[in-house]
Structures are given as C-alpha cells and as structure tokens.
C-alpha cells in the first residue's frame, strides 16, 4: 500500500492538481482576458503533464505507459497552439489589453 512508487505517484499527481487549482485562481484573480489566458494556458501544461507522469509511474512498464507518453507529447504540441489561437482571435476582434493602473474588467 505505502510503497515508494505509490508515494512518488501521489506526490506527482498532487503537484499536478496544485497547478490546475493555481490556474483556476489565476482565472478568477487576473484583470482581463489576455492575462487570464496566461494563467490557464501555462498552468494547464505542467498540471496535466504532472498528472500523466504520476499515472505513468503508478502504472509501471506497460502498454498504457506508452499511450500516456504519446498523450503527453500531444499536449505539449496542442496546448501552445490552442492558447495562441484564442489569443490571436481576441486580438483580431480588437479587444484592448489591460494596462497597469486601470480598473479590472
């Protein structure tokens, strides 16, 4: 029950959950669309990857580990592209970025 592998996996998954929660706190606290995207876009990458690595450690050497590895690879490719696409769409619609000292939106 309390083997070393279980402890490492738990630490990794808890770390992933911490970053996901941080992303949500940032989504609520940050003042405008662009800065909120910073919080969600970045914390999601490491949060998801830590959870996946935790699952890989828990699973050990098996076929599922290979699948999880590919999943991690695709997240690294897809996450920045998605973040960039949303940001570009907002910029092209003419949404003005928040400047320091302005009121939050």
């Amino acid at each position: 029950m309390f083997s070393i592998i279980n402890i490492i996996a738990t630490i990794l998954i808890a770390g992933g959950a911490f970053f996901m929660v941080t992303g949500v706190v940032g989504l609520l606290r940050f003042p405008d669309f662009y800065t909120r995207l910073h919080a969600t876009g970045k914390c999601d990458t490491l949060g998801e990857v830590l959870v996946i690595v935790g699952c890989m450690v828990y699973q050990g050497w098996s076929f599922i580990t290979v699948k999880l590895f590919f999943l991690m690879f695709f997240i690294f490719l897809a996450n920045p592209v998605g973040t960039h696409a949303i940001m570009k769409a907002a910029y092209l619609t003419g949404l003005k970025p928040w400047k320091k000292g302005e009121e939050r939106r």
Partner: protein
C-alpha cells in the same frame, strides 16, 4: 502545386501506412500473446487513417529543406532546455497568481527575427507561448516579425534584450539569428 500525380499517390500511401501502423499499435487490436483479434478495430482504423490521409497528407511529410537528420538531432538537444523553461514558466505564473499584490504589468511587444522557414517560426512561436510570461499573438512570416503579449517587463526583456531562445532556435534550424 507542381507535384506530379504519381508522386502524390506514393506520398499518400506512405502517410496512410504510418498512420495505420500507429493505429494498430495504439489500439492493440491484434495481440499474438493472448490470441486477441478485433476486426471492428481493424476496419475502423482503415476508415480513420484514410480520412486523415485525404485531408492532411501534405502536412506529415514535406519536401522542404535539407540536412533534416542534423536538424532533428539539434531539435532533440533543444527539448530538455525547453522542458526546464516550461517548468520555470509554471512557477512564474503560480507566483504571480498567488502573490497578494499580483505583480503584473502586461504589455504588447513586437520584434523582428531573421527566421524564415515554417518549422523555425512554428518552433519559436510555440516556445514563446510555453516559456515564462509570454504568449505569441501573431507572426508575419515574410518579415519574421513576432507580436507577443508579455505579462510583465522582465519576460518581455528576456525576448527583446537577452534573445537566448531566438539564438537557440536559429541554431537548431541553421539559420542566422
């Protein structure tokens, strides 16, 4: 498109083969160890790989560029540094989110690079989005111009003054920085 029809069919077959083999490996529908064999998965794989091939066969294998092997090795050498930057990026954002005063001072910056190839521009754009405090908004491929949203002054200076990342990407794709 100046490519001949014959070449196109060969390319599509190659892409289809790669996708279908990947499907067979991932779905594990043929397993000689326990005699497992699932015709439904095999036929579904043909349909899925075929549709993807028809839609995007010119994306997976491109004819552009030389010294692909050397560039691939350099890209693999670049990945660990990028992973470390992702790690730092998350702590940076977590710090800004959880700090009671929220130390943010967002700005939009613009800079030119001499990168021109699609791969180099895509790699730099994705790297900028993954690293601390910056997200790519737009690229002008003709001029190599980047439009970037930075969350504070320090990450903006890392791109404008320091230029480590731009030099590293230029090194990977063997272009002048």
């Amino acid at each position: 498109m100046t490519r001949s029809k014959e070449h196109n069919v060969g390319l599509m077959l190659a892409v289809f083969a790669v996708l279908y083999i990947f499907w067979l490996l991932m779905s594990a529908c043929i397993n000689p160890l326990n005699g497992h064999f699932s015709p439904v998965h095999i036929i579904a794989g043909i349909i899925c790989a075929g549709v993807v091939t028809l839609l995007s066969h010119d994306l997976l294998i491109t004819k552009e560029g030389e010294m692909t092997l050397a560039k691939t090795f350099r890209l693999i050498a670049y990945v660990p540094w990028e992973l470390w930057q992702i790690f730092l990026a998350n702590f940076d954002v977590a710090y800004r989110v959880l700090h009671p005063k929220m130390p943010i001072d967002p700005r939009i910056i613009e800079f030119d690079t001499s990168l021109r190839s699609d791969f180099a521009l895509t790699t730099l754009a994705n790297s900028i989005t993954l690293t601390p405090g910056t997200i790519t908004i737009d690229i002008d491929p003709g001029k190599g111009r980047f439009l970037v949203h930075a969350i504070a002054k320090k990450p903006a200076d890392a791109l404008l003054v320091d230029k480590t990342m731009i030099n590293k990407v230029a090194h990977v794709y063997m272009e002048e920085a």
